[in-house]
């Protein structure tokens, strides 16, 4: 999907080009170029980047909210009847029609391909456009989601099997949080799994034993925050032994800001990349330690990844993509860029959307 050709860049812009970014998002909302077809299965995720992105810019008037709501709701998986639901399948949302098939006469329940990550994105979008989530049939969703949880506390993304890791623990926690109903998961078990993912160096890996990674770390910390396992004043010495080793996590996270260019890296000794400004920066925000980030340096780095076409790329001087663009926008929101709405970092949507006014 990423088009990594270099482009001729004239002069670096020293300012955040808000209008260009909104235009970029509007274009993506209208039509995603062909290279995104490899992401078809996750179209809902792409939609989330676009719509939540527009929300950050206060530009939701550019979209047809009714159409969005209808499309998202049409992707929800429903059991045929009360008995079907007990078949051990997860009834969430599909990422696109690619995993959603019209059930034929066999009523083949195997056609349910709904996915935990798509479900998170669906609910995030609905909340963002102001849809009242109490209208969602959440009982089946949550009950069936519990069947995705593994004995070790981790989550599988889909009942037919898939990689199980922290990303899906986060999705589950965010889903429960947005639906205001925690029957969908065993929080204690999830907490244990998260603890086991903290590496010897303080960051978190996607699974126990894995290398500490910015994205995994965000998933861990955001999940704990959503589940209510993180106290208020985490940095204070008086904070009783936390669920996780906070000082070590703090040191690891801060060390990820590179003195060379001010950006954040996702792992020790790896190149800096736009999106870690959110994954690691967001982690620090949740820990109330974002005051330790060198914001000027970070801003400087991010602007080198700003595309003249709007959007952001992973590294300087590449074409933008919707994923890095969204996290670039999130990063600027956290840097309190004028004109950008604040975030609810642990949910991954705007603060206003999270409150649900």
């Amino acid at each position: 999907m990423e088009d990594e050709e270099l482009w001729d860049f004239d002069s670096e812009s020293l300012s955040f080009e808000k209008d260009r970014h909104v235009l970029y998002l509007e274009m993506m909302y209208q039509l995603l170029p062909a290279p995104y077809q490899g992401q078809e299965i996750n179209r809902l995720t792409l939609a989330y980047f676009v719509i939540s992105g527009l929300d950050i810019f206060g530009a939701l008037d550019r979209i047809d909210k009714e159409a969005v709501i209808n499309w998202v709701l049409s992707l929800q998986a429903h059991p045929k009847n009360d008995r079907t639901f007990e078949n051990g399948q997860f009834y969430g949302f599909h990422g696109s029609r690619s995993s959603q098939f019209q059930s034929n006469n066999n009523g083949a329940a195997r056609l349910n391909g709904s996915h935990l990550a798509s479900t998170y994105c669906a609910l995030a979008i609905l909340k963002t456009v102001g849809y009242d989530l109490s209208q969602i049939d959440s009982e089946v969703l949550l009950k069936s989601m519990k069947t995705l949880q593994q004995p070790n506390g981790c989550f599988m993304p889909i009942h037919t099997g898939g990689e199980t890791d922290l990303r899906f623990v986060f999705c589950a926690a965010a889903i429960c949080s947005m639906l205001k109903n925690w029957t969908g998961m065993d929080c204690e078990k999830a907490k244990e799994f998260i603890r086991n993912c903290q590496s010897y160096d303080g960051g978190f890996g996607l699974i126990p034993g894995a290398e500490s990674h910015g994205g995994a770390t965000y998933c861990a910390v955001a999940s704990l925050k959503l589940m209510g396992f993180l106290g208020e004043d985490l940095l204070s010495e008086k904070a009783s032994s936390n669920v996780i080793n906070v000082p070590l996590l703090l040191d690891w996270s801060l060390q990820k800001q590179a003195f060379e260019d001010g950006g954040f890296r996702g792992r020790a000794n790896k190149p800096t990349d736009t999106c870690y400004a959110f994954w690691v920066g967001g982690t620090l925000r949740i820990l109330q330690a974002d005051k330790f980030i060198n914001e000027e340096a970070l801003r400087g780095f991010l602007l080198t990844c700003q595309s003249k076409y709007g959007g952001f790329s992973k590294f300087p001087r590449l074409f933008p993509d919707i994923y890095h663009s969204y996290y670039g926008f999130c990063a600027f929101s956290m840097l309190r860029e004028p004109g950008l709405n604040p975030l609810c970092v642990e949910l991954g949507i705007s603060a206003i959307a999270a409150i649900g006014l």
Partner: protein, 329 residues
């Protein structure tokens, strides 16, 4: 994703073996959001896939079609899942499947579904593929020694299928190639703590501390061995403070007068755990103080002040660390 064949693709509707099948178009509904500008090849392939999927046709031609769909959309877990169903139904040769997987993994080494499929295969094939899996991940590491998926897979293989014998040596090799490879350091920790052949962390601590120290002295600015050293002591401040080698390596690095940020951070941690600094250590800290006229404060506060100057990007953090220094006796 690149296809393997150079020759031009024949549209499926022109292939005689597919003449009996009616493709099923995607029904996006009246107002699809973020529509994608699919290529004709993509649309056609997925339309035919939908047809065989709905019919639950687990045939050789369906298997081939899943391959085509995967090449266009390797993240589509529905296609992968159906492919697994077909492989089971046809009682297919899983070694052949592994070869196919090798090929596409080389071009798509960062795809979750591909690695998940690989794990599924390896689980079915069992212990006798342990070596092959270790060899294959090695091959991936030749091109990208930090590929996260490959490392997860490798850890899974070791724990599920075995093959620990050469692992510590392999880590040493990778670290020798690139002392900054944090994935290799992480793997080293994994081996040292989990290998059934080595006796566990307690047993391995001594030689591994020596290994870490050597790496630190080679490149003191390298975050990895410092974290590893802490990890060997389970990040227990008292344990670190009681290991004379830890203070000693900090001293050695300071004496080098360069790249001592991590060393100072470690000294700070030691001091916060009641380590009694030697005179040598105090002198070494003074020697790197850019401003010898710092106000009279404790050693720990001085270290923080120095860090603010030599690691300015984290100045706010080092300033805050001053407030976490326990009161001096």
């Amino acid at each position: 994703m690149k296809g393997e064949e150079e020759r031009e693709r024949i549209p499926i509707k022109e292939r005689p073996e597919w003449a009996d099948v009616r493709p099923v178009p995607q029904d996006d509904g009246p107002n699809p959001v973020v529509p994608i500008a699919y290529t004709d090849e993509f649309s056609e392939t997925m339309d035919y896939f939908r047809a065989v999927y709905l019919a639950d046709e687990r045939s050789p031609r369906a298997l081939h079609l899943t391959k085509e769909a995967i090449l266009l959309n390797s993240g589509n877990y529905t296609v992968w899942q159906f492919r697994r169903r077909i492989l089971d139904a046809l009682n297919a040769d899983l070694h052949e499947e592994l070869q196919f997987l090798d090929q596409i993994t080389r071009e798509n080494a960062k795809n979750y579904q591909i690695w998940h499929h690989r794990r599924w295969l390896a689980e079915k094939l069992g212990e006798h593929v342990a070596n092959k899996e270790l060899e294959f991940t090695k091959e991936i590491f030749c091109k990208d020694p930090k590929n996260y998926h490959a490392w997860s897979h490798r850890q899974w293989v070791l724990q599920a299928l075995g093959g620990w014998e050469g692992e510590l040596a392999y880590c040493s090799e990778l670290i020798k190639d690139d002392i900054f490879n944090n994935s290799a350091w992480n793997q080293r920790y994994f081996v040292v703590s989990k290998s059934p052949l080595l006796g566990g962390l307690e047993v391995m601590r001594d030689p591994e501390v020596a290994y870490a120290i050597e790496a630190i002295l080679t490149k003191p600015e390298n975050e990895s061995p410092w974290r590893y050293l802490r990890g060997l002591h389970k990040n227990d401040g008292n344990s670190l403070a009681n290991d004379p080698r830890v203070a000693s390596v900090c001293l050695d690095v300071l004496a080098g007068k360069t790249d001592y940020v991590h060393a100072l951070n470690m000294i700070l941690d030691l001091l916060c755990h009641r380590h009694q600094p030697s005179k040598e250590l105090k002198d070494a800290v003074d020697a790197v103080s850019p401003d010898p006229n710092l106000p009279d404060a404790g050693l720990a506060e001085n270290v923080c002040s120095i860090l603010k100057l030599v690691d300015p990007i984290r100045a706010n953090y080092w300033e805050w660390r001053k407030s976490t220094v326990p009161a001096q006796d």
